[in-house]
Amino acid sequence: MIALVGAPNVGKSTLFNALTGSRVTMGNWPGTTVDVARGVWRTTRTRTCDCETCTCGPAASTEMTLIDLPGAYSLDPMSPDEALTRDLLVTSAADEAPDLTIVAVDAAHLSRSLYLVAQLREQAMRVVVGLTMVDVARSRGIAVDTDELASRLGCRVVALHPRLGRGMDDLTVAVHDALDEPVPEAREITDRPAHDLAPMDADLVREDERFGFIESAVEASTGDSGELRASLSDKADRWLTAPIAGPIAFLGVMWVVFQLTTTVAAPLQGALDSLFSGPVSSGVSWLLGVVGLGGSWVDGLLVDGLVAGVGMLLTFAPLMAIMFVLLALLEDSGYMARAAVVTDRLMRSIGLPGRAFLPLVVGFGCNVPAISATRVLPNVRQRILTSLLIPFTSCSARLTVYVLVATTFFGRWAGTVVFAMYLVSIVFVVGVGFLLRKTLWRTMGAEPLVLDLPPYQRPTVRLTASVTWLRLKGFLRTASGIIVATVCAVWLLQAIPTTVDGSFGNVPVENSVYGVTAQAISPVFAPAGFDQWQTTSALVVGFVAKEAVISSWAQTYAVDEPTDGTNPGTLGEHIVADFTSSSGGHPLPAVMAFLVFLLAYTPCVATLAAQKREIGLRWTLFGIGMQLVVAWVSAVAVFQVGRLFW
């Protein structure tokens, strides 16, 4: 078992990808929340032999397990990521520790990247240094003598070009040779701290010693003075992190992200949706007809349940793929760090980390990819907090309901009302965020910003594609169960009759178990002014998918769904009548209360599936509970206060 470690941004992932190809699984290290990738490194072993006439056997192919540990500057456990690195490499038992550790070292930032090597060499363990970014170093006038560096460090050093695939063979030889040898001794430490020194001072002495060790090694093997040479990426940064140009560029990038996840994804989603509700559904129905089950409840279950559920899941696939590609591009190119710098102050003032801007912006298009976008946050607690706030961003599916309801009740003022909903959405995000920060997230420190800006890089197609595919597979696997189960469950509830004059699968909505349940729940909304069971039923369907609210609403009144979202038709008339009666003559406040409730109550089941994947079941359930409370309290407040005025 071989461990791959190194500081962040040294090209470790590219190296890992180059060595393992597609034979990778990602997952949490057991007992931790740290994401670790495991892969199989297949090598063809060519022995370094000195035979004059070679009598060595044929090249043998070996497979080794390669573990990509998260980026760490040192073994000092300052975060769960670094603690795991330390635990695995230094303190674990002999049979759990890796057989060899490859350290990815950035040739353009030698002194900094070697700190980890210095610490590792204080233990007796096999270390091989993989020198990355050699081309970047060369363009900055830094040339590294790998042999000299190897002799100073006391371990093998191999120059690599993971992007170009060069140096992999040398690395293979070095690793095999090292594995053949016994474990080398720890390096000699020249300056040990005196016994009576305070721990902090002792640490300083150790650090100084390590840096001395590193500096002499670096000086002997390079000809660099350490000065920063201005390059194209430096000039770009001067603008991208500047006080005015920076935010403007950032807004531009965010706009592109938002457009791609809405306007570009929409036709793909629409196409998939038509595919499933059209040909696939008809195909299944036809097949059932052939077997003699056409028109029966089996037809209903399979078509309106299973096929509809799978179809809904797959319509999210293009959207998620686009989101994952964008995340990979932003992260790999190095722009994400600049974005974090630009948004830091603003987000900090509402108690969120700077990078949370991206998921929140995406959330206004669709909550589902936004939840996945929380991966840009380095800290698990930050990810959970942001994931809990994303459902308060008003997604485009909710917009369809706002438009219908607003045109029905507010006529000329419909546009203003819809805009107001977006303001309410922002108020919710900031307000709930503030509340959570003061209560559950009180101990999450607001760390000062110290952000290492990585050099800009061109993202590679292969790495981006493989990471996107892995993440998409993961999402589909987790979400499929939840989405399909929920859609089938709703169908089932709507299919079970409670009176004698319906048969299974063929019963008007109000007489089904679903309808009866909605009627039982609706009194809860009396203080908010909208306790008609049809309204409640629409909200329950909204739990499955906000896009389905209008069509199911129409179903409950047994009218046709309006073909034009801005022309409510007969559905509108029913809704007006209902709201007027349920609110005791104050329909407008009741409508506002309803819209506020719809905004906040719970995200659609696809979002919940994404949440479960990112933050776990417990937090997802907490989120649901919290949202229901916030939504209900807000709706009641809006109605009770509003009806004093209108």
């Binding site: 500081a7 500057y73 040192s74 000092d76 300052m78 353009a108 930032h109 002194s111 900094r112 700190y115 900055r140 902090m200 640490d203 650090e207 840096f211 660099d224 350490g226 000065e227 920063l228 430096d234 940064d237 001067r238 992190t241 500047a242 006080p243 005015i244 920076g246 935010p247 760090a337 710098v341 630009v342 830091d344 102050r345 603003l346 900090r348 000062p448 910003l449 110290v450 952000l451 290492d452 800006l453």
Partner: protein
Amino acid sequence: MSTAISLASARVGTSLTLLRAEGSPELCRRLSALGLRRGARVRIVNPTPGGGRVISVAGSRIAMDASMLKRLFAEEIPA
């Protein structure tokens, strides 16, 4: 003899030698690992939104906010 000033007060474009950092041991270690330690030479490169700075040290660039800059003390290197 130049006196120690916090990096927050240093002008953009100046080079300084780092003297000390105020903060928890973890923070100091993190700074060390990035190359920000006693005797390191830093240069203030450009301002960032919100009152922070991008500084350069040991061949790399690091962005910091105002509160962090106030905790780092250095002395100017005479031109």
